[in-house]
Amino acid sequence: MRATVTARPLVTGPTPGRAAVVLAGGGLMVLAAGALALALGTVGIGPLDALGIVGRRIGLPVDGAWAPSTETIVWEIRLPRVLTGMVVGAGLGASGAVFQALFRNPMADPYIIGTASGASLGAVGALVLPTLAPALAAAGGGPLGTGLVQASAFAGALATVGLVYALARSGSGVPVVTLLLTGYAVSAVLAAIVALLIFLSGRALAAVVAWIMGSLAGASWGELGLAGALVTAAVVLLLLRWRRLNLLLLGESQAAHLGLGVEREKLVLTMLAALATSAAVAVAGTIGFVGLVAPHLVRLAVGPDHRLLLPASALLGAALLTLADAGARLAGGIPVGVVTALIGAPFFLWLLRRSSAVRPRAEP
């Protein structure tokens, strides 16, 4: 029996048209940011030249002659760095949105349950090991490469999330507030250990500080491949869970009443988001604010429905980080984490003020 009371069709979510506009717009934003970032750097290369070099390398019939050093700069130095920035930004943006839903807390960011402190411990430990225990490092077969630093960071991040989750478990499930507080506590402990390692770091100090500030310098095709694969897999799997994320916003009880296996879902979401975050942090260090600000901006523009919020947060995160890194390179090669903090923090304050002024108060 069909009720035909409404005069116009009922809109219960983003129409395909709107979704297309948002996603295409996001995609364009990312491409534009990428093209701009390819063209910017200490060595001046015009955007058309940069795109031409990329085009020719991927097999398009492009005319043009460039010095080998220019081609090297664009293809071997800038392009992997720009693409890594996109991957990292997308991972942080998407996982930020997921944690904000999981904790029903707009202040949540991807690092909230210990990925940052765990990754820092892993990376700093690997960087400092040659100073602390040179025999051990030498026995490991020569100098520890950046590959080991990244692997340690990745392992540290995941292990920490696992630890926090296990510690927060009580009785039947993992209460979200307990998870949050346990995350803070564990992060504090790990941060203290990291501080001690920094104190003992010796000549590795500069490298350690740069890692903690978050930097995309030295990005290579190899690390892009691995990080890209992990982040993409995690983000795609998260995108498919948009309905469950929406349900979680109704509160865990009601989500359960609507058919969600809440504890299992929390675990799966945490693991996927932690995977994306860990891969991002492993290659880029702890870059802040992208995972916090991107979902907020998207929510303002597009609404809280995760059907659009998730993919748009990934796209916006990618674009923002790419632009921030271009800015960081222009500013003389400062770590991109410094740029995101300098711009992100005041911007976030502005967002907060704006939203508290605008939010309507429900009457009792």
């Binding site: 960087l127 040659p130 040179p134 490469g145 010796g202 000549r203 490298a207 400062i334």
Partner: protein, 347 residues
């Protein structure tokens, strides 16, 4: 007190074999950090490279035109295809070696700390505030890159340059002998073996002359101060290059720990008879004898040191050459000898 600009390889010279600036380099870094953040960058990532590798050696079968295989100070085996015509230097000491061998015209990139010989200031800067600008190095299209060891050039940068197909040789001399070996290594690599041999002979001669001049003149306990702050004091590290120079110059060096860090108590216990202020090279407040003595006496606990009571606090203005492990290091040795034994040099 103004922040001393760390020129040459500065702190790097106060440290002995194998260890770099460590725990208390945090203090120094915090002071220098504002400069780094504002104007440049910190090296990203990094790894431990073999700290005390063998000094550079050449294989005994070089030919002027053919490829040369050398082992650099990081223990890396590097193949140099032929005498390079475009050289990038990532440390002022390396620049000075290249120029002393008469190949200054082949340099195409240097650091922003390079200042000798004067003409190198015209060259492109590929290192800004100790951070290597990979793009700039690549854009200069060098066929040889001379890097510095012990993370003074971050190992991640070296890795990346190698990945991009550039030839990188790492130099890190920790004694005078190693410096001579480096000069010969560079000479062989750039095809100026003759000039290198001549330069080394000249340096050895001048060194011997200094040792002769101060022979038998007693060895005053000498404290060379690289940097002083309430948080951290840096001097010659135990077994470091500067300690060796002071010894050769006829003094008994007061040394800090392996990283060159020393605290006031150690200094008081050592009771130096002579204090040389390297920071006077950068800080005008210390540049005259009265100002230097006043500043040092004002430090808590320092008034009782023999050197202070005897007024032997000397503003030392040749810190750059004394701490830069290049051909002018012997100028530094001579300056040290004059400061430690002025009577032996007709002053």
């Amino acid at each position: 007190m103004s922040t001393p600009r760390v020129k040459g390889n500065g702190i790097g010279m106060a440290i002995p074999h194998g260890r770099g600036p460590s725990a208390t380099s945090l203090g120094l870094l915090l002071l220098v950090l504002p400069l780094l953040v504002l104007a440049g960058c910190l090296p990203a990532g990094g790894r431990g490279s073999a700290a005390s590798g063998p000094t550079g050696r050449t294989d005994p079968s070089p030919s002027p035109e053919g490829p040369l295989v050398v082992t650099d100070d990081a223990g890396r085996s590097v193949t140099v295809a032929g005498p390079p015509s475009r050289i990038v230097s990532l440390a002022p000491s390396n620049t000075e070696i290249v120029c002393a061998l008469g190949a200054c015209d082949r340099l195409v990139g240097v650091t922003d700390a390079d200042d000798y010989p004067p003409e190198v200031t015209e060259l492109d800067r590929v290192v800004v505030q100790t951070s290597v600008d990979i793009e700039a190095v690549v854009a200069a299209e060098p066929d040889l890159v001379l890097a510095a060891g012990n993370e003074l050039t971050p190992s991640e940068a070296i890795e990346q340059l190698e990945r991009l197909g550039l030839t990188v040789v790492v130099l890190y001399p920790q004694t005078l002998d190693e410096l001579h070996a480096n000069i010969e290594l560079v000479g062989a690599v750039i095809g100026e073996g003759g000039a290198a041999a001549g330069l080394v002979a000249d340096l050895e001669e001048r060194t011997a002359a200094v040792v002769d001049a101060v022979a038998g003149a007693g060895r005053p306990r000498t404290y060379y101060e690289v940097f002083y702050s309430d948080a951290a004091i840096y001097t010659a590290g135990e077994g470091s290059f500067i300690a060796e120079l002071i010894s050769l110059a006829g003094g008994e060096p007061v040394t800090g720990d392996a990283q060159g860090v020393i605290d006031t108590e150690r200094i008081i216990a050592a009771d130096p008879e002579l204090i040389l202020l390297g920071a006077a090279s950068y800080d005008p407040a210390l540049a005259d004898a009265e100002g230097a003595l006043a500043a040092v006496s004002a430090r808590p606990g320092w008034g009782q040191l023999s050197a202070v009571r005897a007024g032997r606090v000397v503003p030392y203005l040749e810190d750059v050459v004394t701490t830069r492990p290049g051909p002018r290091i012997v100028d530094g040795l001579e300056a040290l000898a004059r400061a430690i034994h002025p009577d032996r040099f007709g002053d």
